[in-house]
């Protein structure tokens, strides 16, 4: 067993000192790292017999306890963060609107993203669908955008179109074992029916892509 020598009276001195080793030869920084990582009481074979190391580890462990407690605390995320991000992204995405009515009484317009969301929700209700995401596209515009951005695809390329004709893309992942084509067809039919019923869009095309199977 090493001679314990003088106990550690002043940790600041120990940490400030030019000599970064204890009398036993152990590197102070290594011990500090061990304590900071939460292993102050897990001694190596040398530390089991070394009172220098044990004293230093005990002291470093005490000093780091408040840091470790704080690091373990849950941080409450502001409730508004997600909606603030969504709002900013909406501004970035080229927002497109479907016009349902345009006459002397005024216009009724519905954002393409709302249509996409309703289609997504309709898809999620179909048995066998594990995940669904919706986006609104117009075949011609989407085709142009796709060619223009072939090498550097960007989310902004997914756009809808003015008018009464909606083209919605749904990407779904289905449950393993379910008939993929039947689930996809059901998703398509349900989304079309829901958009007609809830939004009043009569001319609706829903493209369904099954891109994953989840067990």
């Amino acid at each position: 067993m090493s001679d314990p020598g003088e106990p550690i009276h002043d940790v600041s001195l120990l940490l400030s000192g030019a000599n970064q080793h204890l009398a036993c030869g152990t590197d102070v920084d290594e011990l500090l790292g061990q304590a900071a990582d939460g292993y102050a009481s897990q001694f190596t074979s040398h530390q089991r017999d070394c009172l220098y190391c044990q004293a230093a580890l005990r002291e470093f462990g005490r000093i780091w306890q408040p840091v470790r407690s704080l690091a373990a605390e849950q941080v409450a995320v502001p409730a508004a963060l997600k909606s603030a991000v969504a709002s900013q992204i909406r501004k970035l995405v080229a927002d497109v609107w479907y016009t349902l009515q345009l006459d002397d009484g005024g216009a009724i317009r519905i954002a393409a993203r709302v249509v996409a969301r309703l289609a997504r929700e309709a898809a999620q209700d179909v048995a066998g669908v594990r995940v669904a995401f919706g986006r609104s596209t117009h075949s011609q515009m989407a085709g142009l955008a796709e060619r223009a951005t072939l090498r550097h695809r960007h989310p902004h390329a997914a756009v809808g179109v003015l008018g009464r004709t909606a083209v919605v893309d749904l990407a779904i992942a289905v449950r393993y074992g379910d008939p993929v084509d039947a689930v996809a067809r059901q998703v398509q039919q349900r989304a079309v029916a829901e958009l007609r019923r809830k939004v009043g869009l009569q001319d609706v095309t829903v493209n369904v892509t099954v891109d994953d199977v989840i067990t």
Binding site: V11, S12, L15, S16, D29, L32, G33, A36, D37, F60, R62, I63, W64, P66, V67, R68, S69, L70, A71, E73, Q74, V75, A76, V77, P78, A80, L81, K82, A84, V85, A86, Q88, I89, L92, V93, R113, A116, R117, R120, Q124, R130, V131, A132, F133, G134, R135, T137, H152, R153, H154, P155, H156, A157, A158, A171, A173, D211, D212, I214
Partner: protein
Amino acid sequence: MGSDVSDDYLVRRAQEGYVDAYAELVDRHGGLAYRVALRLLGNHHDAEDVAQEALVTAWQQLPGFRGHSSFPTWLYQIVTRRALNRITRTRVTESLDLLGDVSAAGGEPGQHTERDLTVDAVTAAVTALPPPQRVAIVLHHFEGLSNGEVARITGSSIPAVRSHLFRGRRTLSKTLAEWR
């Protein structure tokens, strides 16, 4: 529902323009962005701003994300960079409470005071560290990332991260020892 799928799946869908897929990623990792910003900056107001900026930046840069690292690692890079920009612009912090509403919930008034003092002391000590040491300490000791992960996130080397950790731990320990 989205919890069934991996981050990679959500990233691919978001890159194709499925905004809801990105919303799911924000749901999963928005807390990470806020937590890291809060620990690096030391106040809620700046942390919320930086987390928001980082999450919007990630959306804008998503087309260029090739998946060489995980989405959280990539987000760590963005939020750390944003926080460092904020640190160099504003050196003064107003509030030192890292835990905010959580620390205000429940408990005895006396315990609150003592606990708040501890939180303030640790936060003040962390935010007083030079930025490279602060980043290393926060990512390693608060986020539990390995030295290699910290090096990847900061674009540094493992020896450099170790050096920042050594120095940061020494400074932090001296400050906290004096405080006690």
